[in-house]
Symmetry: C2
């Protein structure tokens, strides 16, 4: 029987660790949070989101704008859609995508502040 070793250090601050453990959100919540930010953490996706800050656009528009294939954009939109960051409406053959809600805008603005200030 071998104990799983996580850290051979002595626990230096038992209190701090326990307090942190209590106030840390559930694993599932933190996982979801990471998944959310992962969506913003790719150049192509952040470009798409940023483009949609101004107006809705169809798949083809975005592909032209970002100089990428229709397929690449479609795949990424699918990802963004599954993360509820964008919504869409169909008009005939054309599918228009837009930001799902204002959280997206807020998060991008917050990030922009961070990188411009430091």
């Amino acid at each position: 029987m071998k104990e799983i070793e996580t850290c051979e250090c002595e626990v230096v601050h038992q209190d701090a660790v326990e307090t942190a453990a209590r106030r840390l959100p559930q694993d599932e919540t933190l996982y979801d949070l990471a998944e959310l930010f992962k969506l913003f953490g790719d150049s192509t996706r952040i470009k798409i989101l940023d483009a949609l800050l101004g107006t809705e656009l169809c798949v083809c528009d975005i592909a032209k704008l970002l100089n990428l294939t229709q397929s690449a954009i479609s795949h990424q939109l699918r990802t963004l859609k599954s993360g509820k960051l964008v919504r869409f409406r169909k008009e005939g053959k054309v599918v228009y995508y837009a930001l799902a809600d204002d959280h997206v805008r807020s998060i991008i603005e917050m990030g922009m502040e961070h990188i411009t200030e430091s």
Copy 2:
């Protein structure tokens, strides 16, 4: 001479594309923004950041808290440090990490709102 094909669609909304192109930030900015969010987009790193919301912690504390090796945590802290999301102070052998500034807190809170509301 072959033109690089990006999208074989007709441009459906020339105006929208041009407007979007004008208001889109520079490529470098968007790249940096993606890099920033990438830091939040991993379970381990978001857990570290979340843990540091409450208090500063040393490497060993975090390793115990998250049940991961000291090495794994150290590597991730290095990443977070290079992204200026955490700062540290040394006290003898022990290195205490803390959030770099309140943007980190704001961004996490914003993300938390998004996942709890939908």
